[in-house]
Point group: C2
Amino acid sequence: MPPAIRPVLAIHGGAGTVPRETMTAEREDAFHAGLRQALRAGHAVLKDGGAALDAVTKAVMALEDDPLFNAGRGAVFTADGKIEMDAAVMDGRDRRAGAVAGICGPRHPVLAARAVMEQTDHVLLAGPGARRFCRQAGLEHRPLSWFRTEFRWRALQEELERRRLGLADDGDEARKHGTVGAVACDARGNLAAVTSTGGMTAKMPGRVGDSPLPGAGTWADDASCAVSATGHGEFFIRCAVGHEVASRIRWLKQTLDDAANAVVMEELAAIGGSGGLIAVDPGGHVTMPFNCAGMYRGFVAADGSLHTAIYREPFRLERV
Amino acid sequence: MPPAIRPVLAIHGGAGTVPRETMTAEREDAFHAGLRQALRAGHAVLKDGGAALDAVTKAVMALEDDPLFNAGRGAVFTADGKIEMDAAVMDGRDRRAGAVAGICGPRHPVLAARAVMEQTDHVLLAGPGARRFCRQAGLEHRPLSWFRTEFRWRALQEELERRRLGLADDGDEARKHGTVGAVACDARGNLAAVTSTGGMTAKMPGRVGDSPLPGAGTWADDASCAVSATGHGEFFIRCAVGHEVASRIRWLKQTLDDAANAVVMEELAAIGGSGGLIAVDPGGHVTMPFNCAGMYRGFVAADGSLHTAIYREPFRLERV
């Protein structure tokens, strides 16, 4: 973990990693490279004195463009072979928030979430109404072929086959937990959070997870912390994960680290909710707990050094 | 407020009442009668030793059938003249939850929310996927004509005309806040909450408010309280109202009354969020704060007496 010096940016590319035994060195390197690229994109904003809100947006745009991660390009498929993406953004300065659910079209779902926040009186738009808004908002759109990856399509077929055969869940966390997110504390101590996802492979059409729900998968409040979660979303909603971390800081006076660990290791674990989260506080502290095998994650410290990791392992460090 | 004796049931028919100066005695009586009918429906479950979950469901079914309230029959219209209803249910025993957003078809949206909780692995379904699930779940459906009321249609035309003319918001809270909800504590001390709504008149298609979001408009946890909120939903989401009341009880050790009042009178008011909420705790305490002119509301005490009110006024009491 970095010292408490701001500005700081942390990102995740999902809890629920490829099982270590099936991970190749090349693939592992590719994940680290993808994480570093997103960290650089976000840090470029922060080091020029930019706002946390813009930094998390840029970082997540990079992750959405990277087909390795389940958001934007490379999003997973629903049970009926469609792609339905969710995203949320929250600004810790005034807790303004914007979110979309069930969209497919905008290259960057995070920008759709920001457009809801900045151009409407609403917080959350879902389904056809959300898609229509995205077109009217002038967001860059891409055809389905741009989002579609053979890897995710095969994962859907395998999951549907598993269900047809009535086989037990194989416990593959990668199928359930794919998400990307970013949290940042800028030089002024302002916080922001973004989460973006394709959701769960073979999810029921219309299913909305925790990612686009402020208080659940995404939360930012300068009075406490910014949180982006990743995991089995239904359990995260039932724990109000993002807001619960903030509440423990505000009312129980826990540190960021203690609060986040209690939620992930105790509260979520108690109801069987696997996954993790990343969080920052106004002092620039960062925490990244997860209760499963791995979580694609990274942070960039105030000196610009990039730290990335996947499993329970030392961070790979790239100096500036 | 009733003494802390359980079982207890509280309901609301929305904050954002008809302005007192335009309310007729007949109309006022009709609202009280509608509230009492819902209280009786829920209390019938509780007095026979039934579960809080079933009591809040029955109470809200009655409110959904009553065209006076903005949920189910009598729901408001979106900007493009459709009806899109949202509902959520949460069981305080294990914080299981179910919710739907953007549906029109099931006579009782609350039963759609329960079906999501009881028949799927998901918490929230939205839009066409949610509607398809409702049909497959065998829920009783009604045609649009059943939900449509002339009163709500006129309200839409007036709002659209107001926007066409570029007039300032007239501050009519009734247009923004219509919602119904119920919270209960049963004889065993188990809690449950339901919220159901047509949303805001002339809302953007696809807009999802706080009602179907666990942690925002709806929350239930036997460790703290059950909450159903009503008000300008976007602000309620940004305050995570339901979970914030619970957090203040759990971590700040506030009473139910103090916690609910702080959220409604201080936190919501601080960002301009008008509305209110109803809440119960495992001891059977009830609270019903609101920061606007009125809130259709009522509770039934353990002795079966029915208490209903609209404005800041003494409760009307109907003894058993």
